[in-house]
Symmetry: C3
Subunit: 352 residues, 3 copies
């Protein structure tokens, strides 16, 4: 939706962001773009100082940035303490979220079991399968190729992109979004070695996804063997993430692509796990902890702690180790020189 710079400024003010406008409030803005791609009619932003030099060359009509950044005179500006939050608000205002075509459930084009209950205003695309005793909330959108297994319960406003699979008994809260080809509730790696064979342990637990969670594409979240695997309210996952059986992820956590968490792990609230991090089973990650990229966590992590490396240790210790390891060739040389000096001293001493 097109707007003037003045209207955008006012919208940010209404959100309590205290923005400051420099330039022409009547300038028309049609699009949000990066500094590099922007043209006439675009608003852009600068958040990461790394890209500051692009201010000199951008063709954006206006830029959102921090008050202390010096920008060329010809650029119209919205100065905001948190440009990232401000541009987010502007993208929502100008572009909005993806709209989903409404397709009323058509039982001949999908496979909807007669015992399934579909909420008012829900869209079930042709090619989706809704199995026995499933309950789907109001306004949910289920894309083609999704399979919703027996007795699953989905809240209002749930959004499943194409080819999402929910195994039997999965619980999904309100306003949960799951991206394509993610699987929720498959059996975990549960076998007991009995008489030299792997005997499969029936996985009789389930998965519970709480409200306002978003899960990326191609993830796999094991059902619990007993009880439940839980993804806490408001947590956000990127792609290709594996969560083991019985693991509990807290609220408002952020998991980056290719993270793997083994089974029976308890993760607190507001935890961040960077890309390709891994966590062994049966441990606890405290609230507000940060797990660095590629970290291999083998022990409990305390509240608020940041760990890095494999095996993971507190980040300052890991950085120190990395620095010392880099100096090993030099250390070795020093040691050699000491040996020579001592040999020399010993020789001289003998002589005296």
């Amino acid at each position: 939706m097109e707007a003037t710079l003045g209207e955008l400024h006012a919208a940010l003010e209404q959100l309590g962001m205290k923005p400051r406008l420099r330039g022409n409030p009547d300038r028309r803005i049609r699009r949000v773009s990066t500094l590099e791609d922007a043209t006439e009619g675009d608003v852009s932003f600068l958040s990461n100082p790394k890209y500051e030099k692009l201010l000199q060359t951008t063709r954006a009509s206006a830029v959102v940035l921090r008050p202390d950044v010096v920008a060329p005179e010809h650029l119209d500006l919205i100065q905001a303490d948190d440009p990232y939050a401000a541009i987010t608000a502007l993208i929502v205002k100008i572009h909005g979220y993806r709209r989903h075509r409404q397709v009323p459930p058509n039982r001949s084009a999908c496979t909807i079991h007669p015992t399934a209950q579909i909420g008012e205003g829900a869209t079930i695309h042709p090619g989706a399968t809704i199995d026995e005793e499933v309950v789907i909330g109001r306004g949910a959108v289920i894309y083609p190729g999704c399979y919703i297994g027996p007795r699953c319960r989905l809240g209002d406003g749930v959004l499943l992109y194409p080819n999402v699979v929910l195994y039997d008994d999965t619980r999904v809260g309100h306003r949960v979004t799951i991206h394509s080809n993610t699987v929720i509730g498959e059996d975990g790696l549960g076998y007991a070695p009995i008489g030299g064979n792997w005997v499969k342990i029936p996985q009789i637990g389930h998965v519970e996804i709480e409200d306002d969670v978003e899960i990326g594409a191609g993830c796999a979240i094991d059902r619990a063997t007993l009880g439940r695997t839980r993804i806490g309210r408001g947590s956000k996952f990127s792609n290709l993430i594996a969560i083991g059986h019985g693991t509990q992820i807290g609220e408002d956590c952020l998991l980056v692509a290719q993270v793997g968490v083994a089974g029976s792990v308890t993760v607190g609230d507001h935890v961040t796990m960077a890309g390709q991090a891994g966590v062994v089973g049966h441990i606890r990650i405290g609230d507000r902890a940060t797990i660095g990229a590629k970290a291999g966590v083998t022990h409990n992590v305390a509240d608020g702690e940041t760990v890095l490396g494999a095996p993971a240790i507190p980040i300052h210790a890991m950085r120190r180790q990395v620095a010392y390891v880099a100096r090993l060739p030099e250390l070795n040389k020093q040691l050699k020189r000491l040996q020579e000096r001592i040999a020399e001293l010993e020789k001289q001493f003998e002589r005296t």
Copy 2:
């Protein structure tokens, strides 16, 4: 299926587990639960000593545990040398395995090629595709969204969860289970650099999955360029595992989530690979070897060996290295002190 504690005890005896019952054999048991979640009517278990203190607070009616564990007097117990095996047997007895609704093949709801042969009692869900000259065994269950490519052959009792894809010519043995969104038999990364371009090498091999294998969700197993990629009898895979072209995995192996094995690797029998481990191409992993979590294996691993780290080395050597690296700051300090003492000696020596 509900049972009395005495009946459960008898069932374990029949399996030759020599359990000992302490408490009321007439107590009715309806469910298996974790110690934390259990309530009246539940049997629980203690296998990992880490959770022993939960015995004090559990509300389970009975607990399966090792004979040497001391439990509160009020708890009914089944003592067994291997509580994990015993509780597995009880879950099977009380809850059983997942049951699959029988859906007779309906050629108008699926796409079944006229040349495909479907075994007696097989369930082909609507929305599955069975391509030319496919042969499917008796009692197989094929969920919606599965695609079975030309000339695939599936044994009896095969179970494919939704959206599994088998490329052309894949062989699947008896009683194989494949979880959702796993792909078997895609082309591997096979290109020859000819004249500065990557020329695709036709991948004319196939994949063979032997009897009693279970593959997790979201895995990808490349077909061989020539010959076959093989997953040996009884092996079990977790989720998001990548297997390269022409690799041979032995029997009864256990691969944890996000493991990656490059092409032309030979893996022996009873091998365990922990989460996020990786193996380079063209090497051999011996029988009963264990690859630690996140290990990066670059050389052959001997039978029975356990390796860890990247590059992976025997686990005791890796643990020693980790300890030494942690002591590097201290080592550096010692070196500095030595330098001072030598300088002092040299000075004194000069004076004399």
Copy 3:
């Protein structure tokens, strides 16, 4: 297609490969096989010297190998400077690429939106979904379970294996192949922390896949937040690869399985990334750079550089570090011995 050894030799000559034939030009060849699997009528090859001893036992009728390799007298040979390129040409000649059954679009079996345009000779399998305003090129092949979102544009000869999902506005060039269960254009992990909550940033960018790209199975390529995520002409991906939002991959790159590249990364042309490598956001990987297996790249990589380790450093430095770390126990011992010798000197010195 069966051929004589002489015909195969002539075919390689025509490609300018200057092969030399030793043996019977009339020998009939029906198949390409590995040295191990080959039987009468098969041509095989030796490229990796590791497998040279198999020449003694192979039952192949002919072998393609380098001119300097000594082979048993009874084997017919095609000597070529690049046996890998030569055997590739022979596989193409004898076996050809996978053929795809032509299935004319059947709007009652698929879900094809009335506004979608399907090119001449395209195959749309039953069970595929083509959404609003999609444009598909000539001769494209779309397998069952694929979902092509609103306004996607696919070039000529595009090949989508089953269950590929393209989100709205994805652009796919000519002759692009995407393997099963890969997702292109899902939203990246884009949230702004506003008032203690994660507020979703509408992801209004898209993905562009250039001509002649091949993407493996189970990958996930995020759409850009603004602008585009780009996969450059001729690049080839293996399986389970994650690409973050706004990242640019150059031309003719090779990405091995389970590689993860975070968002806003610029990767040059002809870059190789080995298995399970990871790259943090907002950095640049130069042309012809090589990222080793499991490397964790945290800084820019120069043109032509090879890096290894986590954090990744130039490969020779990493190898040196690994060697020094392995010698740490020995270093420690030397240090201890020096301490003793100094203590001894100090004692003697005191006495004098």
